[in-house]
Symmetry: C2
Subunit: 218 residues, 2 copies
């Protein structure tokens, strides 16, 4: 339990030696492309190799298995908001300012990698209990704890009313995932030209207003 | 375009004759079970028949094709909140009251049939343009228009500030879908016993507070 296995989805770089960062990057990018294109994870390591112009053996050498590759992809695709959460916790900003910065990163992350939520839940449901717990602690519990910190700080500052951080998690992650996964389909279905990238900026701002207002102490 | 085909996902009961409502219901329930159990729509009409204890031919007779079956299932599983939207539009209630009633129905619908959003988007993406448009008009545009009505009414009453109904759509449908699709997985991952059905009532109330507050005129 205390030593992370090589297929752990939680960052554990120890033991990864004699590796070329640009090769690893190329393989992750190829996987990212495949996932975005297919909308599901039904692809082979051979497809990833072919897409990157590299051999299947190399994919296996770098990531061990498809599970290892997907775990590394989750780490890579969520790095923006995971590292930002760590940074925000330590910053001298008000709770509303932290929320605003976080929401922009969250929406950007989900739009850049619209498969991220599906990937997270695939890894949790396909891992053994200990590994599932590690992934969940790193990608779910950490975010819930960040929301707890944010709400507590906001309440102390007199900005927010007390809200269950788990409720905030469902609302924000659900919204980001829906926006990312359904945007294109809904744009064509609704005949809305304004569901393009401009929509992202406008929507982030609206979500921020809604949440700031929603959390506001009455 | 003006005549609905038999495979239309939009309710069009004309032409469905000599049918037994309880048989149709049994087949829909079997499909509902399969979808909930599998978490995806990779099943055959034979599996539906077997699950219902009826022949595959009967599934074909009632629904024409898998597409027809899925379209009927969407109609069946979303009937609670679709008919409620129509009712609420005509009711003499304030906008906050309408919102509260709608949110409870929305959360209940998604928890009872956690596959509903995936089913909707599968039908939109797998239909021809005209059919996709009909489905979207019935299940997406109608909801967006309901939110437009609700916001307009709330603004007139002095309760709400003007908000884009499309933004509200992404927030509410995203939240409901995430709650439904991820609840069990997240409950075990977070070790949270309180993500059970009690959570539903508590969460509906919290979502309502958050949205009422979020929409409130400042």
């Amino acid at each position: 339990m205390t030593t992370a296995t090589s297929r752990s989805a939680v960052p554990a770089r120890a033991g990864r030696k004699r590796r070329d960062a640009s090769t690893e990057q190329a393989l992750l990018l190829a996987t990212d492309n495949l996932l975005t294109e297919k909308g599901n994870i039904d692809f082979s390591l051979a497809e990833v190799g072919a897409r990157a112009g590299l051999s299947t053996a190399l994919v296996q050498y770098y990531f061990g298995s498809k599970h290892g590759l997907l775990a590394a992809l989750l780490e890579w695709s969520s790095s923006r908001y995971v590292s930002q959460i760590n940074g925000l916790l330590a910053m001298e900003l008000s709770a509303p300012e932290k929320l605003q910065i976080h929401l922009r990163a969250l929406v950007k992350t989900y739009l850049k990698t619209p498969y991220i939520d599906r990937l997270l839940h695939h890894l949790i449901s396909s891992s053994d209990d200990a590994e599932a717990q590690r992934i969940s602690d790193f990608y779910v519990k950490r975010v819930v704890e960040f929301y707890r910190h944010l709400i507590d700080q906001g309440v102390r500052e007199g900005h927010f009313r007390p809200v269950d951080p788990l409720h905030l998690y469902f609302i924000l992650l659900g919204t980001a995932d829906h926006l990312a996964a359904r945007r294109r389909l809904l744009a064509s279905a609704l005949g809305a030209a304004d569901l393009d990238m401009d929509f992202v900026g406008v929507f982030s701002a609206a979500l921020n207003d809604m949440m700031l207002n929603g959390l506001r102490k009455i």
